[in-house]
Every structure is written in structure tokens, then in C-alpha cells.
């Protein structure tokens, strides 16, 4: 079966790959949005935290023989802890300043983190094997679906929905949303806002690391792997707007799929298509698809 001269299995496998990329966009832009909401900081270091998740997974396997499944839990915890340090030691001092300092500080942090990993591992990619349980592919009749990729999509969407549920439907999430609207008032009600801010940043960092662990077997693990990703995620955030959690998730997944299709029909444009969409969205809806202009 063919569609526009492209075989259906080929198309579907690119679609799945697009969904995999889209899952990472979704998790990362979700984390950016949550952090921005409460801290008013655009976390440029998000890509570096993603990279840390992946590299830690690789390190754990190669130095200590710790397997993938343990790292899926451990890496977010470690990177989340690192996030606590970043927030307590660095970010805390600049909340009162202009937004741009938050971006510059986290940019410096990104260069610092990537520099440290680069001085150890260089820039070439490190391979990471797919965990045994998810090796191989399932025959769906019309295509072979690589198990691992399916797992990435399912796990990512699960985490995204979980985050959405916590923020939109629980009491903790209500505090968080209230803190985003008016932190001083929330503090007056006796809620420890500084701790909430620290934990929010740590949570965003942990999300990025989780995506990093998921990515280890699909991407090449390398100290620079987060760099280009974060810029695409910025474009995703501009397209979706940071006002809505569900908006971030849908925009991320959608753009991944569009990128996947572009790889099939016009491969030359696959690295720029997200930016082109950003331009179109800015022309038609300057505030972003789900955004409210403040």
C-alpha cells in the first residue's frame, strides 16, 4: 500500500519516530512551562539536565552495571537533587531582576555543565543498548513496531498526563497554580512558597532527566545532545504558549508528528519545519496556540 508514493509501513515508522521526538518535546516544554509559571525563569539549562539524565544512565550502566529500569527512577532523583542545588544556590538571587538574567544565568549553567561532561567524554556519541525486555519489534500486521519506541511514547504520555492531573486536579496543584497567579497572597495563607519554588524547579529538572533516560537507547548519548533540542523546545513553547499544561503536551506531540511527516516527504526541511511553523503561528496568532498575551 502506498500513500503519495511512500510505503505505508515506512510512513508509519516515521510517524512513530516523530511521536518519540514529540514525546521529548512535550516533557521538556511541560517542564519549562511549570518552571516559568512559578519562577519566571526560562530555564535554558533544561537541555543540559536532559543530557545529564541520559549520560548518568550511560555512566551507571558502564561503571556500576546499574540497569535501565533502576536509572529510570534514580536519574530523575539525582538530577532533581541537582535542581534543588541550582535553585537554592543560584536562581534564588535573581528573582527580583529582569527576566533576561534568568535566561543568562541558566545559559551560563548550561555551558558549565556541558563543558564538564565534554572534558570527560568529548563530543562523540556513546551507544546505549535497548533494555532486553523491550528489544525487538512487534508485528502489527501492517507494520513492524519497535517495542522500545512504543514504550517511550507510552511512558512519556503517561508522565505528561500524570503531571497534568497533579497540577490541575489535586490540592498540591491548586497551591502551585495559586502561586503562579499571586505568590505573596499564597504565602499569606501560610504556605511555604520558597520551598514550593525549590521543589517545582527540582520537579522540572527531574522531568527533563526522565526524558533523558528514555532517550538514551534511541539517541546517541553525548554531552551536546541537549543543545539543539532545547532550541527546538523554545520554538515549541513559542508556538504553544506557556499558559496551558495540556497545550504544551499537545503542541509538543503534534510538532513531533509533523516533523516525522516532513522527514518522509521533504527531508531537507525536517530540521527547520518547527521554526517555519513558529513563524506561521506568530503571523496568525501572535500569542501562541494556547497562550494568553499578558
Amino acid at each position: 500500500m502506498e500513500i503519495f508514493g511512500v510505503s505505508l509501513p515506512g510512513l508509519l515508522s516515521q510517524l512513530l519516530l516523530g511521536l518519540v521526538n514529540g514525546s521529548f518535546y512535550a516533557i521538556l516544554s511541560l517542564g519549562l512551562a511549570v518552571i516559568f509559571g512559578l519562577l519566571n525563569v526560562i530555564n535554558f539549562a533544561h537541555g543540559a539536565l536532559f543530557m545529564m539524565g541520559a549520560v548518568l544512565t550511560w555512566m551507571a550502566m558502564n561503571y556500576f552495571g546499574i540497569n535501565y529500569w533502576v536509572m529510570l527512577l534514580l536519574a530523575p532523583l539525582v538530577v532533581g537533587g541537582f535542581g534543588v542545588l541550582i535553585e537554592r544556590l543560584l536562581l534564588r538571587w535573581i528573582y527580583k531582576l529582569d527576566h533576561l538574567y534568568g535566561l543568562l544565568l541558566t545559559l551560563g549553567l548550561t555551558l558549565l555543565i556541558e563543558g564538564v561532561f565534554r572534558s570527560v567524554y568529548g563530543v562523540s556519541g556513546l551507544g546505549y543498548d535497548t533494555p532486553e525486555l523491550l528489544e525487538g519489534a512487534t508485528n502489527l500486521g501492517f507494520m513492524y513496531m519497535p517495542n522500545y519506541r512504543a514504550w517511550v511514547v507510552v511512558a512519556s504520555i503517561g508522565v505528561c498526563i500524570g503531571t497534568w492531573y497533579v497540577i490541575e486536579k489535586t490540592k498540591l496543584g491548586a497551591y502551585l497554580r495559586a502561586g503562579t497567579e499571586n505568590p505573596r497572597l499564597v504565602e499569606a495563607f501560610g504556605i511555604n512558597v520558597p520551598v514550593m519554588i525549590t521543589l517545582t524547579y527540582a520537579f522540572g529538572a527531574a522531568l527533563a532527566a526522565f526524558a533523558g533516560v528514555l532517550s538514551a537507547p534511541v539517541y546517541q548519548v553525548s554531552p551536546l545532545m541537549g543543545q539543539n533540542l532545547i532550541i527546538v523546545v523554545f520554538a515549541v513553547v513559542v508556538i504553544g504558549g506557556m499558559g496551558s499544561i495540556m497545550g504544551s503536551i499537545l503542541t509538543g506531540l503534534g510538532l513531533g508528528v509533523i516533523e516525522g511527516f516532513t522527514k518522509v516527504f521533504y527531508p531537507e526541511a525536517s530540521s527547520t519545519v518547527v521554526f517555519v511553523i513558529m513563524v506561521i503561528v506568530l503571523l496568525i496568532r501572535p500569542a501562541g496556540l494556547f497562550g494568553k498575551e499578558k
Binding site: I42, G108, R118, N228, T272, V279, L282
Partner: protein, 331 residues
């Protein structure tokens, strides 16, 4: 002495130093590169320091113009002044496009838009045939200025670069002190107020963006003319980060800051290996020997320190110190 006089003497000494530098053993190519970066940072500062817009896409103007000038000189074999003009106009046009989209959103979103558009240009340059992809555009001839003056001589090239950079810098100074520049400062301080005073702030912001981009393009074009090549690293986003760092280290919103900052950052990157070797021999810690390869790490550290403790930058601190001294004497 009044601060104005001190500044006047400072610029005078700097110009004098640059005029005689080639005769004092300074390597002309290196000083020319420094001047190109000083112009790049000054152009960037015009936007961030005086209009309050953080562009994270200035690499596009530097690198894009570098390619345009390189292509014009090498393939179309135009004379250097035409090449520079094309690069500058090209940079301005790119600035018009990026600026048009960037000003549709405010603050941090606008920064992300510039970054994304510049990254798009990076991918275009990576794939386009005329840029030479990963190898870059090599062997760009300097040619003869107006078809008469041969620029192959480094000394002739040096004084041309000096003249152009000084002229461009004076243009920036003039812009900042003009009524137009005052409106830009007004927008930086309080945009809603500028709007309520009847200024079409979007137009002013766009114009500032185009001017800054054109001058950044001029810097890129000059760089290609001097070095004879244009590479992907100029268009890469790290180059945008670079110019932010130079401006921040030197002092945001000061005229002299970008000049000092670019010199400090470029020198730091060139001499880091030597500094590392010195530290290694002095302290006995082997690791310092690898410092030369860890430029990114050191750059990142400087960023963090500057943002946390040193936001006024070198010249900002000096200007504040002079102001304090003067205030002290008046009491």
C-alpha cells in the same frame, strides 16, 4: 576631572594605541579580529543596552553577512567595498525579518523567537550549497579597494578596518545621543509610558533591531574580508551567546563596555591554554593543563559569576566608582 573628560582621554588613548599597535609588535590580524568583535558587541549593545531587547539571534546577522560578503567576493568577484556594503545591507534585511517576528511578542518570548529564527538560518546554512557546509567558505580574496588599493597588505587592511570600525562606533554614539536614541531609552525604561506619549514603539524597536543587525552584519563582513573565510561557527547560536557575554562582562548599556568586554573575552579564549599551563606549573594540579580545551566551561562560569555578582560589568563598575568619587568630593 569630569567623567566626560576622563572618557574623552580614555577613547583618545585607545585610538592612539590602535593607530600605533602594528608598529609595537601587535599581530595585525588578531587586532583586526578584536575590532570586528568590538563592533559586533557594540551593535548588540545598541539593542540590549539601549532598547532593552535581548536578541539571541545575532549570530544570524554576523554569520549570514559573513557568508554573503564571502560569496560576493569569491564568486561574483566584486570589489571589497561592494562586498562590505552587500553584507551590511544583507544583515539589515535579515534583521528586518527577524525583528518583524521578534517584536510581535514581549520580553522573554521575543528572545526565544530570535534564537529559533537564528537556529533556522543555521540549518539553512548547513544545507545550502553556497556555504560549503561543514567546511565553510574558504579562500575568500581580499581584492582591491575601489579597484585601486591592494588589501593583501595587512597594514593597509588594518587601517581600513580601524577606519570602518571607528566610523561605525561613532554612528552608534550619535544614534544613542539623538532624539531617536532617547526614545529607545524611553522604551527600555517603560514601554507603556512611551506608547502613552504617542510613540509608535513597535516601529522604533524594529528600526533599532535593523540598525543593530546591519552593524553586526558589517562586523561579520569585515571579519570575512580580514580572515578570508566564513564558517558555520559564526552562525551557530553559541556565537550569539558569545556576544551577550562580551556585552555583559564589559557593561550593559555603557558605550565603552562592549569594547572592553569583547577584548577581555577574545583574549581570554586565546590565552586560556597558557593560563592553564601556568596554573598547572604553579599549583602542580595536572588538570589545569586541559583548561585550554575547556573554553565553554570557563565561559559558562564567567556568565554565572557576572549575572550573580557583577551585573554592571567592568565599565559599569568603573563608571559607578567615578560617580561615587565625585559625589564624595562634592560633600
Amino acid at each position: 576631572m569630569k567623567t566626560n573628560n576622563i572618557a574623552f582621554v580614555g577613547y583618545g588613548l585607545l585610538l592612539l594605541g590602535l593607530l600605533v599597535a602594528p608598529f609595537l609588535g601587535a599581530y595585525p590580524i588578531f587586532v583586526m579580529k578584536l575590532m570586528c568583535f568590538a563592533l559586533f558587541a557594540s551593535a548588540f549593545n545598541l539593542l540590549l543596552g539601549y532598547t532593552g531587547m535581548l536578541s539571541f539571534g545575532h549570530a544570524a546577522f554576523l554569520g549570514g553577512s559573513a557568508y554573503m560578503t564571502g560569496h560576493a567576493l569569491k564568486v561574483w568577484a566584486v570589489t571589497p567595498e561592494i562586498g562590505l556594503l552587500l553584507g551590511t545591507v544583507g544583515g539589515g534585511l535579515l534583521g528586518l525579518i527577524v525583528g518583524f517576528f521578534a517584536i510581535r511578542r514581549q520580553g522573554i518570548y521575543s528572545t526565544m523567537i530570535t534564537l529559533a529564527l537564528a537556529q533556522m538560518l543555521f540549518f539553512v546554512c548547513l544545507q545550502a550549497p553556497f556555504t560549503g557546509g561543514e567546511d565553510g567558505l574558504q579562500g575568500v580574496p581580499r581584492g582591491k579597494l575601489f579597484g585601486l588599493v591592494d588589501l593583501q597588505d595587512d597594514l593597509v587592511m588594518y587601517y581600513l578596518v580601524l577606519a570602518i570600525v571607528v566610523a561605525a562606533f561613532l554612528l552608534i554614539v550619535r544614534t544613542i545621543h539623538s532624539p531617536f536614541g532617547q526614545v529607545l531609552k524611553g522604551i527600555k525604561e517603560n514601554e507603556p509610558r512611551a506608547i502613552s506619549l504617542g510613540y509608535d514603539t513597535q516601529r522604533f524597536k524594529l528600526l533599532a533591531f535593523v540598525l543593530s543587525a546591519a552593524l553586526a552584519g558589517l562586523a561579520g563582513s569585515l571579519k570575512t574580508l580580514v580572515l578570508g573565510f566564513a564558517t558555520l561557527s559564526d552562525v551557530h547560536w553559541t556565537s550569539s551567546g558569545h556576544v551577550v557575554l562580551m556585552t555583559l562582562v564589559g557593561g550593559l548599556g555603557t558605550l565603552s563596555g562592549p569594547l572592553v568586554g569583547s577584548a577581555v573575552v577574545v583574549l581570554m579564549e586565546n590565552k586560556l591554554g597558557e593560563v592553564g599551563a601556568f596554573l598547572a606549573s604553579a599549583s602542580g594540579v595536572e588538570w589545569f593543563n586541559t583548561l585550554g580545551e575547556s573554553v565553554t566551561m570557563v565561559t559558562g562560569l564567567i556568565f554565572v559569576v557576572c549575572v550573580l555578582a557583577f551585573r554592571r560589568g567592568i565599565m559599569g563598575e568603573i563608571i559607578a566608582l567615578l560617580a561615587r568619587l565625585r559625589a564624595g568630593r562634592q560633600v
